[in-house]
């Protein structure tokens, strides 16, 4: 991509934002976001990522986007994975080993059933919610 002008930048921002929104509105897309900070990787996030890839391929799931992101902050529960999809609450899973990754695909994504024992939450949320009031 060549250098951007101010207009290009703004256009890109709008388009990308709409794209993301559309992606959410369009009931087909599932997002799996793997926390790939140093602590995540140290805890095996790379294996988790490969396990997701393999599992998705095995089941022929093409409507799932697998992405990486930085640390989610839940270092005691690494590797952590956030799953966003329509009809399901957005959930952060912790201690996602390759085996758990398989379960998430089969259970959460294919059967819309949460995976027991691995649901975590943003720890700061509740306390900060109180602050905000």
């Amino acid at each position: 991509m060549a250098k951007m002008s101010l207009d290009d930048l703004r256009a890109m921002r709008d388009q990308k934002r709409r794209e993301l929104e559309m992606r959410d509105a369009d009931n087909k897309t599932v997002q799996i976001i793997v926390g790939m900070g140093t602590s995540g990787i140290a805890a095996g996030a790379k294996n988790t990522l490969s396990a997701f890839l393999a599992e998705l391929e095995q089941h022929g799931l093409t409507n799932v986007s697998l992405r990486q992101t930085g640390s989610l902050g839940l270092d005691h529960a690494e590797p952590t994975v956030e799953v966003r999809m329509a009809d399901m609450p957005t959930v952060i899973y912790g201690k996602v080993t390759p085996k758990v990754a398989g379960e998430i695909v089969r259970s959460h994504i294919m059967n819309k059933t949460l995976v027991d024992e691995h649901v975590f939450d943003r720890p700061a949320a509740d306390i900060l919610e109180r602050k905000e009031q």
Binding site: M1, A2, K3, M4, S5, L6, L9, R10, M12, R13, K16, R17, E19, L20, I33, G35, M36, G37, T38, S39, I41, R67, Q68, T69, G70, S71, L72, G73, L74, D75, H76, A77, T80, E82, D87, M88, P89, G94, K95, N111, K112, T113, L114, D116, E117, H118, V119, F120, D121, R122, P123, A124, A125, D126, I127, L128, E129, R130, K131, E132
Partner: protein, 595 residues
């Protein structure tokens, strides 16, 4: 949705010990009784981090947050909330009670409001610039390039009240303004990413999760102060962060958000990464500059301050990663918005790296002024294994301890200083009753002695002496005179050391002397380590009356110094014992005496 409701039962240690498992089973039973298994999924989760209010049950999608739930409440939760759709008000978290429904939106709303620094971490793909751009990325730079004058930027920062997140909390606007006021053809912006406090990794996570926020801030700084060259000084042991930064710089340059004539504004700014070899002292700004210049990383006297004479003698702004990550948001949302967060003198949020004896170790970002208790017991989930909280060390090796009596202190620059500690970069190491304060203090001194650059005498020699005296005390060979000597050396170090490392190195000692003098006295006067940590002062023996001869301790002993006939009282060979404490922990009959 496959199920109509998801019931999340917290399965963290704290809740588990309060019958969370029984609640889980009761909820499942009730679901079956009401024939709702097709509509409701009951799930046991990891810790919610709100252990003080546990056991916790959360019902989705309503996001209803029930606290202090008992197994007996299960029936009501199912029959009322699930079947009839009426929240069980008496169990709702008390500040939620006023609301009809706690909405998911509230939480995401909050997240936009309060995850200021970590706003994008764990959300966007850090290797894809367009994701950053879609989240208001480079909007602030746009404004700075086309709408705001340098003076406007400074006053916005002044309004925001942002202070440096790397240590002493110097107002960021002043730093920028001093540098802006200097007349020079060449100025520099330096990002201090030499995070070195033991247990701290806020900056690493920001760079790994949201590198563009730092790049954008540096360009904004460059525009404001009149610099077109920036350096990021980062330790080589952060390979992932370095890789992400390199990629981010390349993408930003490709997009024309760095480099020549940014967005056609005529402003040039480029950023170079400089790798440090990991010396702690290189986080000190003048040593950092020396290191970038290719010199041995040793501090230089101040004044002159870097804002006047910095990198290669030119006016330089040095900000740490977290400080910079705040800048784009401040300029997008306004200084006033930022100033609403936090306390009177400490604005915004602070990211802490919570480690040590804590259930949920991790990164937390809270508004300044949040009480320590909330951070440790609610977010952090408290102390594991049912142990009692003893103290928390903030500010790393330059800081001090905060004890149980001060748990309700709002955490900001002023309060921490009052308590004899500092904010530092945001490391928080939690200690429990099994930690010996002399041992902990010795660890910190060991660190500063190891990391002293060796340039100035007070730090180089004083640190070693303090460490030696602590070692003596931990062996039960100390005297009360040693305490005076430590205070005197400590004062000389604080007053005569060249840089912050030496000036603050005695802080852990002075702080523990303030709050845990009795523990020093126990080591000195009675030759006892109350926590049982100082090996030279601990002695393990087997109480014959209590020992049933199960042999567990003997199997656990790593040096095989416990012997005895089966079903007969065992014995510890003191000459071989390494005082690891394995037998003490292993014994189920309290038959091992630690004295």
């Amino acid at each position: 949705m496959a199920y109509q409701h998801y019931i999340l039962v917290c399965g963290g240690t704290g809740c588990e010990s309060n019958k969370a498992d029984a609640i889980y089973r009761a909820l499942q039973r009730e679901t079956e009784t009401h024939d709702l298994t097709h509509a409701v999924q009951v799930v046991k989760t990891g810790c919610f981090g709100f252990c003080a209010q546990g056991p916790i049950v959360k019902i989705l999608p309503e996001e209803s947050f029930y606290v202090e739930v008992t197994p007996e409440d299960a029936a009501e939760l199912i029959s009322e909330h699930i079947v009839k759709g009426r929240p069980v008000t008496r169990l709702l978290y008390k500040e939620e009670q006023s609301k009809e429904h706690a909405r998911v939106d509230d939480i995401s709303f909050y997240q936009k409001q309060f995850r200021v620094v970590l706003r994008n971490c764990g959300f966007i793909d850090p290797e894809e610039i367009s994701e950053y751009i879609s989240r208001e990325g480079y909007v602030a730079l746009e404004r700075v390039l086309f709408d705001l004058s340098p003076q406007d930027v400074i006053s916005e920062l002044k309004t925001s009240g942002l202070r440096g997140r790397g240590g002493a909390g110097f107002p960021t606007w002043m730093k920028w303004n001093f540098t802006r006021e200097q007349t020079s053809d060449q100025k520099y912006v330096v990002c201090n990413a030499d995070e070195g406090d033991p247990g701290a990794y806020m900056d690493r996570s920001i760079l790994e999760g949201d590198p563009h926020s730092v790049l954008e801030a540096m360009a904004i700084c460059g525009r404001t102060i009149g610099a077109n060259k920036g350096f990021i000084y980062i330790r080589a042991e952060y390979p992932l962060a370095i890789g992400r930064l390199e990629r981010a710089i390349a993408q930003a340059t490709e997009f024309g958000l760095l480099g020549k004539d940014i967005l056609g504004s005529g402003f040039d700014f480029e950023i170079e990464i400089r790798l440090g070899a990991g010396a702690f002292v290189c986080g000190e700004e003048t040593a950092l500059l020396a290191s970038i210049e290719g010199e041995r990383g040793m501090p230089r006297p101040r004044p002159p301050f870097p804002s006047v004479k910095g990198l290669w003698g030119e006016p330089t702004v040095i900000n740490n990663v977290e400080t910079l990550a705040n800048i784009p948001v401040i300029l997008t949302r306004g200084g006033e918005w930022f100033a609403k967060i936090g306390t009177e003198k400490s604005k915004g949020t602070k990211v802490f790296a919570l480690t040590g004896k804590i259930a949920n170790s991790g990164l937390v970002e809270v508004p300044m002024g949040t009480p320590l208790r909330d951070i440790i017991f609610n977010i952090g989930g408290g102390i594991p294994d049912g142990k009692a909280f003893k103290a928390v060390q903030t500010g790393g090796p330059s800081g001090g301890v905060i004890t149980a009596e001060h748990l309700d202190t709002p955490i900001d620059y002023e309060h921490l200083q009052e308590l004899g500690s500092i904010m530092g970069s945001g490391g928080m190491i939690v200690m429990d009753e099994s930690d010996c304060m002399i041992d902990v203090t010795k660890f910190y001194l060991e660190f500063t002695v190891e990391e002293s650059c060796g340039k100035c005498a007070p730090c180089r020699v004083g640190g070693r002496k303090l460490h030696d005296i602590l070692t003596k005390i931990s062996k039960g060979q100390g005297t009360q005179e040693d305490i005076d000597t430590m205070r005197q050396i400590g004062t000389a170090m604080q007053r005569a050391s060249l840089c912050g490392l030496g000036q603050t190195a005695p802080n852990p000692i002075l702080s523990t002397l303030r709050y845990f003098k009795a523990e020093y006295d126990a080591h000195i006067d009675q030759g006892v380590c109350p926590a049982g940590k100082c090996k030279e002062l601990v002695h393990f023996s087997i109480i014959t009356d209590k020992c049933i001869g199960c042999g567990l301790c003997a199997r656990r002993c790593p040096v095989l110094c416990i012997s005895g006939e089966r079903r007969q009282p065992h014995e510890i060979d003191q000459s071989k014992c390494i005082k690891c404490g394995e037998c003490f922990t292993a014994c189920k009959f309290d038959a091992v005496l630690r004295a």
